[in-house]
């Protein structure tokens, strides 16, 4: 498995084989943003871990060469982040991104370009928002037969203000695309959270779904758990744990986070 560890946006450790190519570009003076370029040459798994004790400004470019698949796991701890992602997928590619964010604050802009037929992206975010977190995702289906599934799950606690904005674009004549998005925030504060689910579709031959939900734990779920003798507090903890763990295949990191906030 390929792995990069970043400290304050600098590579401090890496373990890479010939399936993936990493380039770090010098900081642009004007914007003070570092650029990390990742090229996936052959099907592979890649883990990126971030830690920070100061503000990190980083652009990450990810390129998938034709006929490749990449399972990318990204874990962020602590720090304040401003990140821009530009993702380019050629034909017959599959990108499965799993992100777990437990940071002080974060602003992310992600632009997905599905630039070849049968390009698929499956994106899953789990975040514990404690201050300000804003995620803007744009998915461009630039070819026919492309597929996107965007899932944003956040739990908002303490002073958190969490915002998701997700836009899917299908231009005219790009047929047989699938555009899914599912956004949910469990807001355990009185702060205001936002979800903006957008679908910009100029083609009839498309399957598109979106869902957005902000609220506390669902009353009917709480009732079910409490009807088995579980206290309100324990039931809420169980539901949050379930929400954060659902759809994840590796629970190691999320279990650490759950223990940290919900002992």
């Amino acid at each position: 498995m390929n792995k990069i560890v970043l400290g304050n946006g600098e590579i401090i450790k890496k373990s890479l084989d010939d399936k993936v190519e990493i380039t770090v570009l010098a900081k642009q003076n004007f914007l003070n943003v570092k650029i990390l370029k990742i090229k996936v040459l052959k099907t592979t798994d890649l883990v990126i871990e971030h830690t920070a004790d100061s503000e990190v400004k980083l652009d990450i470019y990810i390129n998938l060469e034709p006929d490749t698949k990449c399972n990318l796991t990204e874990i962020k701890k602590e720090g304040n982040y401003k990140l821009g992602y530009k993702i380019y997928q050629a034909e017959n590619t599959e990108l499965n991104i799993t992100k777990i964010n437990d940071v002080y604050s974060i602003k992310e802009l992600l632009i997905f370009n599905l630039n070849g037929e049968n390009a698929k992206v499956n994106y899953l975010l789990k975040s514990i928002s404690k201050m300000a977190e804003k995620y803007d995702l744009m998915v461009y289906h630039n070819f026919s037969n492309t597929w996107s599934n965007i899932v944003n799950h956040g739990v908002n606690i303490k002073d958190g203000i969490l915002k998701f904005s997700v836009s899917g674009f299908v231009p005219h004549s790009k047929v047989n695309c699938v555009v899914n998005q599912n956004n949910r925030i469990i807001n355990l504060t009185n702060n205001s959270c936002e979800i903006h689910p957008n679908l910009f579709i100029d083609e009839n031959d498309v399957v598109a779904n979106h869902s957005a939900h902000i609220g506390k734990c669902k009353d009917e779920e709480l009732f079910y758990l409490k009807s088995r003798g579980i206290s309100e507090q324990a039931a809420e903890r169980l539901l949050i744990k379930g929400f954060l763990m659902q759809k994840l295949t590796d629970h190691t990191e999320i279990e650490r986070i759950i223990k940290k906030y919900w002992r």
Partner: protein, 257 residues
Amino acid sequence: MNTLKIENLTAKVNNKTILNNFNLELKSGEIHAIMGPNGTGKSTLTKVIMGDPNYEIVKGNIYFNDTKINDLKVDERARLGVFLGMQMPMEIEGVSNADFLRTALRAKDEDFKLFSFVKKLDQEVANLKMDPEMIHRGINEGFSGGERKKNEILQMHILKPKIVMLDEIDSGLDVDSLKIVGESVMKYFQEEKPAILLITHYQRLLDYIKPDFIHVMTDGKIIKSGDASLVKIIEEKGYDKIKETGTSVIKENEKDE
């Protein structure tokens, strides 16, 4: 001996009165079945007993033994030993059945032993002919209607309640599953001697679970009570006829005497 006593209970939801001066007493070792047309308040009764906050008690009392439970929270009632097998059990993705049951059992039993729990769980899963893998999936996640009902019965076996309410536990079950569930409930009844309250529309469930008392409920109250022979009368005459012929609460066996 445990008793659940419902006295002159009137309850409403969304400003609509559903239960109207309802009375019933259940004792350990008794099986009661409530039958009645749709929309007469049968499910509401079970929800009110369980303490669903969507339902408001306007008047009347519910007692578990000598304790008035009107103001107890849902989880407090459950820990006393009241159990509701739901008509449409929730699907909760991410919360595994095993984790859920372990948490529930820990809440109830301070002397919780993990090994005994796992052993009992495996045994009951096998008895109910459930897929052992289901126990590690989210609660009712991807379960068919029948599997959900079996999961309710599994929870009953693990939590060992003293008052068991089963709301249309037969719906969604094929003939084989109905037999498994019916026999499993009777096995629990014979071993633990709880009080059981069944809500059902169909005779078929009563082929396996043999009630001591049948109650006909319309308009939020019991209009007729009797023994198992009342089911045949219901099937022959229908609820409307029973409603017409009398609203007094007469136990059929008492009538014979």
